[in-house]
């Protein structure tokens, strides 16, 4: 299996474009990630990172006339049509969403157990008959992300970081061969963040999982990922070893923005404050 | 024709009625005892369902109004076998035209003369006394299309019409003696505001209809039971009391047949005829053809009636 997998790319995105209205969120993006790689995806806000990841998982179809996505050689989508056996492929791809995408009304434990839906039969999952072992696994996953004691709490009432960790636990529970993580550490404190990224690194190192993780904290990309892909305005503007990401390169990526925010900081948001804070000033 | 293993009776209270179930219950029990098979009662405020049920042999016996009995006979294989008689011994009831007590009109001719100024509360299109009878005897005889002759025509049920007259919302309306009496009982003060200006010829009282294809022996058993009820036997007095409690109060049933429906049928045809005559959109040839058909039917009924008279 290992030998075979090295022949085909784990993730292969071929000139995919995506237009929202008149806005090109992805502009002929092509990337190729080999099995067992751990790649960071960076880029300014709105550059199309999330859109790219959702295309890879077949959650969003690209524009009609161009591009295809393959995972381990299996077609995910082509020319804007998502392939019919997509569900089987998705089961092999764990996805950690930027907005968590938990089901707010269900308890945390159930949310985590939805990670195994592809393995559990339709009927059994419909009736909610999860075996003791499956429940124990889910509890173990929760324990790992430090949420075991919140197992019965509704996902919607968790704190931001707790929701993010819950989403991670769900993706882990899926036991996939590829993990797509969309800013998995954005809402986490430094220690939790380090733990999560180390966990991803360990899965990559020890079990050969392919990991594509979008990040805003560049130091994590430099530290944990050998390779980095950088996007800007829907295009791939950098793809190579992380150590080549010099400060100038980074400044290039994040530097000049679509609209008029200047980077010198001399003229930050020019929004005024009322000259007289009427109510409180008068009343105090 | 196999023996029925149970008899289902459908009851459609003639005009508006309530607590029919209570009144019929002892009768049902007696019938069950007499026939030796289960008898079930269903009371429905509308005849359509009962007629369909009779058509598919889900109901064997039903109490209808005259007009609905015609439908049952034509459509559901029904046949009139007895007739109800009210407690006062009246063989039927009467259709009325009413006005407010302060109204300037005292005869139907006054009303017709001033038709262009008046609002008319007509009965439900399916009501015999509220619509069919006045249409035939009043508007038909005077060659009037109410929709064109009067300023305004509203269709509503008897109660609403009576109220509307009492409240001066319509100038005149149709009604019938049964509804009038009931209203008078409940609202003695209101009835004083209403005056009768016209009373129709007698409308035969309601028939009981059975399915024509009931086995012969069962037919005689059933008819025997109905006619003997309250007339003969040891329980006569008790049975009379039961009859008194049924609907608005009955005397023993009277023998009858489809024959009782003929006058109403004739009126019905007359009404159809009027409708066709007043239809402006129908082609002239089609019109005359349909009118001829109806005339033929009316003729049949009339000649049959003459025949029967001849032999009686």
């Amino acid at each position: 299996m290992q030998t075979q997998a090295t022949q085909t790319a784990a993730i292969e995105v071929d000139t995919v474009s995506k237009t929202f209205g008149t806005d090109k969120a992805l502009n002929e993006v092509s990337i190729r990630i080999a099995p067992g790689e751990m790649v960071a995806l960076i880029g300014p806000s709105g550059s199309g990172k999330s859109t790219l990841l959702r295309h890879v998982a077949g959650l969003l179809a690209g524009d009609r006339d161009a591009g295809s996505v393959r995972i381990f050689g299996h077609q995910v989508q082509k020319n804007g049509t998502i392939s019919p056996d997509i569900r089987k492929i998705r089961a092999e791809v764990g996805f950690i969403f930027q907005q968590f995408n938990l089901v707010g009304r269900l308890p945390l434990l159930t949310n985590v157990m939805t990670g195994m839906l592809a393995r559990v039969g339709t009927w059994r999952s419909l009736l909610g008959w999860f075996s003791r072992e499956e429940k124990e696994r889910a509890m173990q996953a929760l324990d790992c992300v430090g949420l075991a004691e919140h197992a019965t709490q509704r996902a919607g009432t968790l704190s931001g970081g707790q929701q993010q960790r819950a989403a991670i636990a769900r993706a882990m529970e899926q036991r996939a061969r590829i993990i797509l993580a969309d800013e998995p550490i954005a809402s986490l404190d430094p220690e939790s963040a380090r733990l999560v990224i180390e966990c991803l690194a360990a899965l990559n190192r020890n079990q050969g999982l392919t990991v594509l993780v979008s990040l805003h904290q560049v130091q994590f990309a430099l530290q944990y990922c050998v390779r980095t892909i950088a996007m800007k305005d829907g295009c791939v503007v950098f793809d190579g070893p992380s150590q080549e990401l010099t400060p100038t390169a980074l400044r290039n990526i994040y530097g000049v923005r679509k609209s008029g925010v200047d980077l010198d900081g001399t003229a930050p948001l020019h929004i005024g404050v009322r000259p007289e804070p009427a109510l409180l000033g008068a009343a105090a | 024709e196999s023996d029925p293993d149970q008899i289902t009776i459908g009851i459609i209270p003639t005009e508006s009625s309530s607590s029919a179930m209570k009144g019929f219950e002892p009768f049902r029990k007696d019938m069950e005892k007499a026939l030796g098979i289960p008898v079930k009662l269903f009371i429905a405020p509308d005849y359509a369902g009962v007629i369909e049920a009779m058509r598919f042999n889900k109901v064997q016996i039903a109490w209808f109004g005259n007009k609905s009995a015609i439908e049952a006979v034509n459509r559901a294989g029904g046949e009139v076998f007895v007739q109800t008689v009210d407690a006062a011994g009246n063989p039927g009831y009467w259709s009325l035209v009413v006005v407010h007590k302060d109204s300037a009109y005292h005869t139907i001719d006054d009303i017709i003369r001033d038709g262009g100024k008046l609002t008319f509360g007509n009965g439900d299109p399916n009501s015999t006394s509220g619509n069919l009878i006045p249409t035939y005897y009043l508007w038909g005889q005077h060659d009037i299309d109410p929709l064109k002759h009067f300023k305004r025509v509203r269709n509503a049920n008897h109660e609403t019409n009576l109220m509307a007259v009492a409240n001066k919302q319509v100038d005149f309306a149709t009604n019938n003696t049964e509804n009038w009496n009931k209203f008078a009982q409940v609202h003695p003060d209101m009835i004083r505001n209403v005056r009768i200006v016209w009373k129709s010829p007698l409308i035969p009282s309601d028939p009981m209809v059975w399915r024509k294809d009931l086995p012969r022996e069962w037919k005689s058993k059933i008819k025997g039971f109905f006619l003997a009820y309250g007339r003969v036997g040891a329980d006569k007095e008790k049975e009379l009391a039961v009859l008194k409690g049924m609907s608005s109060g009955w005397a023993p049933f009277q023998d009858s047949s489809n024959h009782q429906l003929l006058p109403i049928m004739e009126i019905n045809y007359a009404k159809d005829k009027m409708k066709i005559q007043n239809n402006d959109r129908m082609a002239q040839t089609e019109k005359s053809q349909k009118l001829a058909e109806i005339d033929a039917k009316i003729n049949e009924i009339q000649s049959y009636g003459k025949l029967v008279q001849q032999f009686n």
Partner: protein, 265 residues
């Protein structure tokens, strides 16, 4: 995209959309005016003749509960019939509602299903009642079936429109795990719509209990028929008594509905 827009430019609604909006508004007003004439609206009459209304209402001020055992019995009859009619309809409306939601089923599925449900709603309950009378005879069961058909059409529509209004993110979350369509629905959609579905179901149950016509029509009695009889015989004291019972039943159901929904919101 690269063209820099002048800063602070307020985005304008395009002219053609403004025109369209104006036209739609005009058309709506015209239709309303047409309907105003057709409906012969004379709002002032309500004030002029308010004394009449007061006189009418005064008839209801002395409810007569003397026949209450019968009222309670008939209410129970209606509840029994409505319960099964509604239950069967819910069982059918869950799959059919999902199949007629545009965000669940493909075009060639939801179109025919929706149209079938439209027909279920628009075909008069009496016709269904008679249809079933022809098979099962007079009696409550025919009422159950007639209520079922009509309620099915209504619930499937309401269910599907609740599904169409959900938040798609959690569904995408479930989808990404490789769950199949049914699992997606069970874990992503149902938890979101369950409070509304419960609310619709109890609303239809309640309205089936109230509904006079079908149950009476099939000869099964019911409080609706009694009420109707009382109204038609101007027995407003009895009418008032039955109304009080009905209002109480409806309030109880509403409270129950609130209770049940609270656990799912």
């Amino acid at each position: 995209m690269t063209a820099v827009t002048s800063p602070h430019k307020i985005p304008d609604t395009p002219l053609c959309r403004k025109l369209l909006r104006l036209l739609a508004g005009l058309a709506f007003t015209l239709v309303l005016a047409w309907a105003w004439r057709g409906a012969e609206m004379r709002p002032l009459d309500l004030i002029t003749y308010s004394a009449n209304m007061a006189a009418y209402v005064s008839g209801f001020l002395t409810p007569d509960f003397s026949e209450w055992p019968q009222y309670v019995h008939q209410t129970a009859v209606t509840i029994q019939i409505a319960m099964w009619g509604t239950l069967l309809a819910v069982i059918g409306a869950v799959p059919l509602g999902l199949l007629s939601a545009t965000n669940v089923a493909p075009f060639w599925v939801y179109q025919p299903v929706r149209r079938a449900m439209d027909a279920c709603r628009s075909i008069n309950e009496m016709i269904f009642a008679m249809l079933f009378i022809s098979a099962v005879g007079l009696g409550p069961f025919a009422g159950v079936l007639a209520l079922f058909m009509h309620t099915l059409g209504t619930l499937a529509k309401l269910f599907s429109e609740a599904v169409e209004a959900i938040d798609p993110q959690p569904v995408e979350g479930i989808r990404a795990t490789g769950a199949n369509k049914i699992q997606e629905i069970a874990y992503g959609i149902i938890p979101q719509v369950v409070p509304l579905w419960i609310s619709y179901t109890l609303y239809r149950f309640e309205s089936n209990v109230r509904s006079a016509s079908v149950v009476g029509m099939v000869g099964a009695g019911g409080i609706g028929m009694l009420l109707w009889d009382a109204i038609r015989s101007f027995n407003y004291a009895a009418t008032a008594a039955m109304l009080i019972i009905l209002v109480a039943v409806v309030i109880l159901m509403d409270l129950g509905s609130t209770c049940i929904r609270k656990r799912f919101i």
